[in-house]
């Protein structure tokens, strides 16, 4: 199946009960799959009138206690930013899938990773963070939907699954663990809007008008974010132990970087790879670990389908203790294995 379909099937099996979306390439297979299989599984599917409506429907569904998600691609994700900010502010769980395409503006429909800043820095108004997960294969896209919903519920926070057009369109075999669809054990949501039967009124809101209240609330959010940074960093490491140069790449880009590591190793060049799986929290721990293992300092090369966004987080993680280089293309171009090898040779 395609990456888009794997995400959709993963979401359904992870207990997604509500989906709202608006068509946009290159994620149309996702909304298409949901339109058939959500109703088939007695879940709710709505083709919304816009991405703005879709994300606000997710707000409502989540407020009512449902596992809810939406999906789109870059321009549509821009429209959702106000809604995501409200979801973060109201501490609602929600999953948002962005199958990135190239920008700015309408850009084109080719794959890109140029929404990294938007995803990892908040994207909408106010200070908030989304947990950002970056799958790099179709199988991982499927599997990751379980983590996405669980993390959203655990922290009552929006989770973004950040893929790109290449991953969304790519066809790969997928192993589906459980036959059919079973809802996971219901998470208790005492804050949800269900009608105030035998309890006090519940209010879902992000508005704090009285002096000092918002500051108190924001500190609470910051505490939650610190906890997420501490316990949820995920990454994959390949051949970092003795590496002189460690490539850093996520999503589809990491697959090409992986082949480059293989080719370079075959030529005796000690190369490794750190593949961030969580982009926020950025896996700072991977860099501390890599440093300790090599004894001597490795250099880093961040490779992206952008003109240098994740590289800023690599620099922050390395904290001036190593050289950090960058290779990237954006607008539909993807750095090739040859380009990576050439760049690595120019560094060492």
């Amino acid at each position: 199946m395609s990456g888009n379909e794997a995400i959709a099937e993963g979401a359904i099996r992870a207990g997604c009960c509500f989906y709202a979306g608006y068509p946009i390439t290159p994620q149309n297979e996702l909304i298409g799959y949901m339109s058939v299989h959500m109703p088939e599984n007695k879940r709710i599917f709505i083709q919304a009138e816009s991405e703005i409506a879709a994300i606000n429907m997710v707000f409502g569904a989540s407020a009512a206690g449902s596992r809810a998600m939406t999906s789109s691609s870059s321009p549509g994700i821009s429209l959702k930013q106000e809604g995501i900010s409200y979801i973060a502010g109201a501490q609602l769980p929600a999953v948002i899938v962005n199958i990135m395409r190239a920008g700015p503006g309408l850009g084109n429909i080719w794959p890109a990773q140029s929404d990294y800043f938007q995803a990892t820095r908040g994207g909408g108004n106010g200070e908030y963070r989304c947990i950002v997960l970056a799958p790099s294969s179709v199988q991982e896209s499927f599997d990751m939907m379980f983590s996405a919903f669980n993390l959203a519920d655990k922290y009552r926070n929006p989770v973004i699954v950040l893929g790109d057009g290449m991953l969304g369109q790519m066809m790969e075999p997928v192993w589906l663990p459980v036959a059919g669809c079973r809802l996971p054990v219901a998470v208790k949501k005492p804050w949800a809007l269900t009608g105030c039967k035998e309890r006090e009124q519940n209010i879902v809101k992000s508005f704090y008008m009285h002096e000092g209240d918002l500051e108190k609330f924001n500190l609470l959010l910051q505490k939650k974010y610190a906890q997420i940074m501490d316990s949820e960093q995920r990454y994959e490491e390949i051949d970092t132990k003795d590496a002189k140069i460690i490539l850093v790449a996520y999503g589809s880009m990491a697959r090409i970087a992986k082949s480059a590591v293989k080719s370079l190793r075959a030529k005796g060049i000690k190369t490794g790879l750190i593949r961030p799986i969580t982009l926020w929290p950025f896996p700072v721990k991977a860099f501390q670990q890599a440093n300790r293992q090599t004894g001597e300092q490795a250099n880093y090369l961040s490779i992206e389908m952008s003109y240098g966004q994740m590289v800023e987080d690599v620099r922050l993680a390395v904290c001036g203790k190593a050289r950090v280089e960058f290779l990237g293309r954006s607008g539909g171009g993807v750095p090739t294995e040859e380009e990576i090898i050439k760049k690595v040779n120019s560094i060492k």
């Binding site: 009960c17 509500f18 709202a20 709710i44 709505i46 919304a48 009138e49 816009s50 703005i52 409506a53 879709a54 606000n56 429907m57 997710v58 707000f59 409502g60 569904a61 407020a63 009512a64 206690g65 449902s66 809810a68 106000e82 809604g83 409200y86 109201a90 809007l193 269900t194 009608g195 105030c196 039967k197 035998e198 009124q201 519940n202 209010i203 879902v204 809101k205 992000s206 508005f207 008008m209």
Partner: protein
Amino acid sequence: MDKIYAHPKSLRNIQTHYCPGCGHGIAHRIIAEIVDELGIRERVIAVAPVGCAVIAYDYWDFDCSEAAHGRALAVATAIKRVRPENIVFTYQGDGDLAAIGTNETIHAANRGENLTVVFINNAVYGMTGGQMAPTTLLNQKTATTVKGREAGIHGYPLKISEMLALLPGVKYIERVSLHSPQEIIKTKKAIKQAFSNQIEGIGFSLVEVLSPCPTYWGMQPKEALDWIKEVMVKKFPLGRIK
């Protein structure tokens, strides 16, 4: 002796933040009374707007959600789909429902969502300081039409209720007013109808309420009521629209 009048259970007995002569307080109370009378307090879920009524949830004592400015009907659509057994309504101003949220309004109505909408038309943006609303009358002075609304520059007052009445998904629309006790009684009857429709599964029901805003109309409260009666109802005629 029978008790024939009391404070509604669904309305907190606290002071509101509304200006003297504002209609929001009356509309809040009407809704609270209806919720009590229909016995739906434990089932009702309100969606509050962004506008002067943003903290309606501090006054009503039942479950409430916030919605971003204009998006109440998208939020309400999802709540009702997830919990069809609950009674879900939105409470929205004219800027919220008929300007920034027009898209959500039209499409929720067109899908025929089984929702109740209380639409407060005060012909201005109250919350932000009395600017022009889509429903501002021609020649009406506002903070952004200081010489009065001019059709050639600002367009015409938007009659969204009449527009919505064209949609087959819409089952009930009535325009009412708060300018006198008699009209307030009619307002309550219409809103109660809109709630009953939802309970019976009839479908999308909207009540437009002409509501005074003395502060941003630059009038005394009594003058504001007279202005609705003499001027506003001429452009926004009262009665059943659908």
